[in-house]
Amino acid sequence: MDDTKIVALYWDRNEEAIPVTAEKYGKYCLAVAGNILGNAEDAEECVNDTYLAAWNSIPPHRPAVLSAFLGKLTRNLSFNRYKKNTAEKRGKGEICAVLDELADIVSGADSVDSELERLELARAIDEFIGGLPKVKRDVFLCRYWYTESIAELSERFAMKPSAISMMLKRTRGKLQKYLTERGFEL
């Protein structure tokens, strides 16, 4: 079914919206959750939570890109679950490697930032991402947004794993420089 029609079902409070969403985007959401959690059972639960979150947030939202909207919900829910699991020593999955890589460019200090600072940081990151050449941007997002493994990226982009790793390393370095120059304390 067309995304516009699916969103219309949510707006009409038609419960058919959930199975239709699950049929079209269930696999995609499961991949996003699975990459972060590395646990099928937890991932399944997060995807079910995603449908509920979508039901609760459409309306008032009318997502322009439904897949990305669902992906964001899944990613946030899964990462929250990951943090809970880690506190309970149950963390595994690709997210550990992703966080290790990101740790290269941050101090690790646990700073409490205001909502305004968080928004400014998010805006700066979005600008940085927008300025990257398309393939580098896609590789970066597939790794640090979708939490795909290096092997998956290698296949998706038809590049050797070492080349993917090197490209990511360079882009991380650029992001660090970009944010530092703009006064963000990493």
């Binding site: 941050v106 998010a122 941007r137 997002l141």
Partner: protein
């Protein structure tokens, strides 16, 4: 900041980019073995006539020194091509002589932009000067020759000595000398000479100014 906080900061990235990334799937890879022509044709006479400065939107300053050209062939090099028959040996020599792996080197370019075959040029008199010549597709569909060496010896234009009176370009913070000249067919060709991260580059291409700048930005990534 913690890695977790940074990871969460990515949450608000534009949905357009997320959708594009999710949909990206490289077309089936075709093995590309390009023939690298072993032509050492260009030697430049370094007399700048006109200078053209272009301030790009990316903050780069591209200053092009126009120059006359002299054609010649330098036969004092030995060369060996590495292709599908002996590629492993080539990869090994590339890394040994440049201190960087081939995969690492080509990761700065778009996937599939670099030819898989390359040529090694060596000076007859010493085992220290090794240049590697690769072909790279440019953003406007053209092809550029990139020569890279550790020794500082300029390969594409070996008799070319930069003059202090020439203008310098600044690309992603590196100083680059860029020259424009008329090639043998009457077209415009650019050459750039620069060093970056301990390697020395000669880049030569008959492409648009924008594509040439894009290429230099990729190399100085």
């Amino acid at each position: 900041m913690t890695a977790e906080a940074l990871f969460e900061s990515f949450a608000d990235i534009s949905e357009k980019y997320l959708k594009e990334a999710q949909e990206y799937r490289a077309s089936p890879k075709k093995r590309r073995i390009w023939v690298v022509a072993a032509c050492l044709a260009v030697v430049l006479a370094a007399i700048p006539l006109v200078r053209l400065a272009v301030d790009s939107m990316r903050g780069n300053t591209l200053v092009i020194n126009q120059t006359d050209r002299i054609y010649g062939v330098d036969y004092s090099f030995m060369h060996k091509s590495y292709n599908k028959e002996n590629f492993e040996e080539g990869l090994s020599r590339f890394e040994k002589n440049l201190g960087i792996s081939y995969d690492e080197f080509i990761s700065r370019f778009e996937p599939g932009a670099v030819s898989e075959g390359f040529t090694e040029y060596s000076a007859e008199y010493a085992d220290t000067d090794h240049s590697y010549l690769l072909l790279v597709k440019t953003s406007d569909g053209g092809v550029a020759q990139i020569s890279v060496t550790r020794s500082g010896f300029h390969f594409i234009c070996p008799m070319f000595k930069p003059d202090d009176s020439e203008e310098e370009s600044y690309i992603d913070g590196e100083t680059v000398r860029v020259y424009e000249y008329e090639d043998i067919l009457g077209g415009t060709e650019y050459i750039a000479l620069f060093s970056h991260e301990g390697l020395h580059y000669d880049v030569r291409a008959s492409v648009s100014t924008q594509a040439f700048e894009d290429l230099l930005c990729d190399i100085i990534d």
